[in-house]
Subunit: 253 residues, 2 copies
């Protein structure tokens, strides 16, 4: 039976020079974060490192030790800069082997696409003892070993791998959230936010200001695992906003 008080956490390690150079805008952090929320797992921390073995090994060993799960994105393709499998194997102190099922998948996928060459066979290499994560998009599978999940860097392929993992991982109560917005400067109602969070135990309130259509406003996101706590805190915010002569817009503005 699930223990609803146990908080399950995950870390994400984004691997790739293209993120650190600014060439590519990362989309996997938000995607993995949202997916984890639905699984009842909280994304506790993210790191981005380049294509350097030492940096990957350090991050993998720190993050997998202090979280229930570690996900990585990037560096599992066929080229020389794809070093994630080797680095994770080094971090775990295991060798690298060709996974027979991965090899069979790639043989099938490339049968009509020029055949399996040495570079493509690199994508069947896994840390010894690993299982595969199916990839309907492009043949090459993701990899699971212990509590570490290696996924693609291309967001659409990552999405397919996450889909394959949906419902497979143990988690706790999902963190729920509700948003309420107002055309108000957050600095006008900072006391209201702090007090509301304080008196509603088990909730966290985030304040996200914006400038839009020449006006300032803010959305307030109330998060909790308890629907009743969220409802009460949102109601308290709405009442407080109206007492100050401000609109309170359910769902946010």
């Amino acid at each position: 039976m699930a223990d609803n008080n146990r908080i399950w956490t995950a870390a994400l390690l984004v691997i790739g020079d293209e993120i650190l150079s600014g060439r590519t805008q990362d989309k996997n952090i938000a995607q993995v974060a949202s997916w984890l929320g639905v699984q009842g797992i909280r994304l506790a921390e993210v790191r981005v490192v380049g294509d350097r073995t030492e940096a990957i090994v350090e991050a993998v060993n720190t993050l997998r030790a202090r979280n229930d799960y570690l996900f990585t994105t990037g560096g599992i393709g066929p080229t020389h800069d794809d070093i994630t499998v080797d680095a994770v194997a080094e971090a775990l102190g295991v060798g690298v082997e060709i996974h027979p099922e991965a090899r069979a998948i790639l043989e099938g996928y490339y049968a009509t696409r020029g055949g399996l060459n040495e570079a493509r066979l690199r994508m069947a290499r896994v840390p010894a003892g690993a299982d595969l994560i199916p990839n309907r998009m492009s043949g090459a599978p993701g990899i699971r070993i212990e509590n570490v999940f290696l996924m693609a860097g291309v967001p659409s392929i990552t999405a397919g791998m996450l889909d394959a993992l949906t419902g497979e991982l143990e988690g706790g109560a999902p963190l729920l959230s509700e948003t309420i917005g107002s055309w108000v400067q957050e600095s006008e109602i900072a006391d209201l936010l702090r007090e509301t969070e304080r008196v509603h135990e088990g909730c966290a309130i985030g304040s996200y200001p914006f400038f839009r259509e020449g006006r300032v406003g803010a959305n307030f996101v109330v998060r909790s695992t308890e629907p009743a706590v969220i409802e009460a805190a949102v109601e308290a915010l709405a009442t407080g906003l109206r007492a100050l002569g401000r609109e309170a817009v359910p769902g946010g503005v």
Copy 2:
């Protein structure tokens, strides 16, 4: 005189529950990365942590020690979840004080916007001994202390703070890059990429595959501080691609 062999590095710490929950898609990593590149400073690593003092302190102390510069984004606003200033002060072992110039800036900014209340005055708090980073967008300044730069979470405000810092930080030779693309599966030319990188000392080649218009292709980014090295490596890639009967598209496809 600049030492062109010295590599200057920076780390970025993104702070905010909204990134880890997936609510907000981060845009600061790519923005800061691109800006650093122009300054001749390499973004070496990024971490994302939530609004938790302990997590911020740990990351600040690790990252500032092993990089020339540390930038943070997020958590410097007026509300209860804005804890970056206090956490950085704790990491540096200094107190928190009201910066008189920041207070004057905020008094001016809010003179026609309802006046300076307690929440707004929070945005004049800095780790003791800090300097300010101008913010033309919204009054509240960024903060510089030692090699740590605290910036806003809202990307447009961060952009203004980066603009104010342009040319202010010592860096080395900028890392240059040139892209060449082809409608080719990267797994077909993995050997060409590896060999080209190997024989052109001081260059790194990244391979970025994509699926588009029903076809697969890839862009190859050659990076180096030496224009001549880039030119030679790109020419070698183009020659290699054409030898395989493939187009080589300058600038990428």
